[in-house]
Symmetry: C2
Subunit: 372 residues, 2 copies
């Protein structure tokens, strides 16, 4: 979906019906031109050369469920890894209606004006897509999406949050290798995904709108404490005062929280993606925060911790999946849960019984169910 012929020279030759707005529903002359497959090193070269189309296709590989693709994707990501890491990664969240999409356009266009290269990714497990993932709805990013120096990629569809997060994180590697010096990872502020995003970015921005209490019910518990900064959108016209009041509320609330691990206190600003008032201030807030974190070393520490986090997350998740998908476990689970429910056995005994069965089945695996 991300393919823009106008941004890509090499590709023109391959394009069918170039310039045709929309293919006729029936086109007797149409022939599928089988796209030539790149080798891993061709992918890597293309990415390092900043070729958007090849980047897109590589990301598609990352998102593919075909083992062959996954294998190639893994090699591509690893070859790109040494060239990655040199960007500032923003996480951007906020409830639907906070105006994330217009904000991302406003922030993004200003960054491009300053000569930056911007990649906008999203991480929302399919379960949350419907709840306002802006990137699913491309028309709302029309300004950015046609910019040569912007790369926009919707959230990988389907799969568990863990899977989506992994794909997004690997996509960051490719984008950085392709020379994008600013990465936006966007998420809807209503689910589990904030923690995942928070664990892959350098600055986590919470976008809010004026109002307190009931109006904010949508936002997830704990999210305020994850944010490195809060920006209150729609501070324009009649809404200006309410926005400023909300900002004051948030500043008070943040006072009750401890100093974040970054060692830099989160700021609360107001802005308007509509009038662009305050956009520069928000960008400055992020820049200042990043440079302070680089100085006090927390920037590097945070990225190291994130690597460790993802390694452990992947391990833990795999261990859980392997356990809960075990045949013996699946057959026992319901009974055990019922026994706990009826106070016949403790939760701990139930867990122990299941674990015994699990490891027993594993150690017998080779004899009973040989695996290749």
């Amino acid at each position: 979906m991300q393919y823009h012929p106008e941004n890509d020279e090499q590709y023109q030759g391959l394009t069918v019906n170039s310039g045709v707005e929309r293919l006729p529903d029936v086109n007797p002359y149409r022939r599928r031109v089988s796209r030539r497959e790149y080798t891993v090193s061709e992918y890597v070269d293309g990415i390092l050369a900043g070729n958007k189309v090849i980047l897109s296709q590589a990301v598609t590989m990352i998102e593919s469920s075909l083992p062959r693709h996954q294998q190639m994707a893994a090699e591509i990501v690893e070859k790109c890894l040494p060239h990655a890491g040199r960007s500032v990664r923003w996480g951007i969240t906020g409830v639907p209606g906070a105006g994330k999409s217009t904000s991302i356009e406003a922030f993004g266009m200003e960054l491009l004006r300053r000569g930056r290269k911007l990649a906008v990714l999203a991480i929302d497990p399919s379960s949350e897509r419907s709840r306002g993932s802006i990137l699913g709805d491309k028309t709302r990013m029309e300004q950015l999406s046609v910019q040569p120096d912007a790369f926009i990629r919707p959230s990988p569809s389907g799969g568990s949050l863990g899977g989506v997060a992994r794909k997004t994180r690997e996509t960051i590697v490719l984008c950085e290798a392709a020379g994008y010096d600013t990465i936006f990872v966007e998420t809807v502020g209503v689910g589990q995904s904030e923690t995942a995003v928070h664990s892959m970015v350098d600055f986590f921005l919470l976008i809010q709108i004026a109002g307190a209490g009931d109006e904010l019910q949508g936002i997830k518990r704990g999210i305020m404490e994850m944010s490195d900064g809060i920006a209150i959108n729609k501070a324009d016209g009649d809404n200006l005062q309410r926005a400023r009041l909300a900002a004051a509320h948030y500043r008070n609330a943040l006072l009750l929280f401890p100093m974040p691990e970054s060692g830099v206190r989160p700021q609360v600003l107001t802005y308007s993606a509509l009038t662009s008032d305050g956009i520069n201030e928000v960008l400055k807030m992020v820049e200042d925060h990043i440079s302070l974190c680089r100085e006090n070393g927390s920037f590097e520490t945070r990225r190291r911790r994130q690597d460790k986090y993802w390694m452990q997350e992947t391990i833990d998740q795999s261990l859980r999946n392997h356990f809960y998908q075990n045949q013996r476990i699946e057959s026992m689970m319901e009974t055990k849960q019922l026994q706990v429910y009826n106070s016949e056995i403790t939760a701990f005994r139930a867990a122990q019984d299941l674990l015994d069965a699990y490891f027993d089945s594993l150690s017998k695996r080779q004899i009973n169910h040989p695996e290749d």
Copy 2:
């Protein structure tokens, strides 16, 4: 340590040197009377009869690391399980200095006056004990500790948080079977243990002291959002105004949080454990909260979720331990972490390599390292 002969008839016969304040350092006539071991059913009967001494000994079994004891303890807990659950479980946390111990005495003495039976437990992994676990320091609970209807038990010492939490949760079962209708589980508000406590209580009370911002640095992120109510202690004398101001701060802050799953908004009260002002209001806050939760069904839902939580926690933790203690993993881990650190491989690839080695070693286990 919990033994109080004065509360126990059956036991008098077994007591040596009853009434002697302290044994002489050297006592030629002293003979160790080997304490007869109770059977599981004797333990259960004793507990159901509300015998404090037997309860104490059963809890000691829960805390014992001897397999024989653990086996017995598990049976005792399971036999008590059907008689458990009929209590209101408070979680009480707050930073050291907030006055948790005096507060627990104040709340507890008032509850006893109202004819309740109170068990006070603690859950603090040894790492945190030093940081102010009141129950380690018995002298500070002297009022409660001599009450016939109060049962006080320090936190199980040593072990992981998971282990300590399990022991505390099983102790709750025994206490409830012994007829204690109110359980306090106390923890220091500085560590990981709040989540554990929050996952075993019906009402999670956060005790605070006057002051905002820097004074509260000690408190763990996210803890405010876990609490079902906040009570600000030391609202007396010159401190009264500051306490009320702090309460206002917290009320504002809580406005920014979503409605808790309980469906009941947390309240913020001020009180003084010293003068007892506001103690009744705090008790009323908890009672009202509990009855509202019973009405809207969240009370039952929460306990069911807690059972599930502990089953999954136990499983996940065991899976992790089993993985990280695996010989092959231990030998590979450092290398893999280094490779990730040097951006040679992604965190995901490192995880995958380790997982492959792990499951490979498990499936070969019977051949290579037979287990009994």
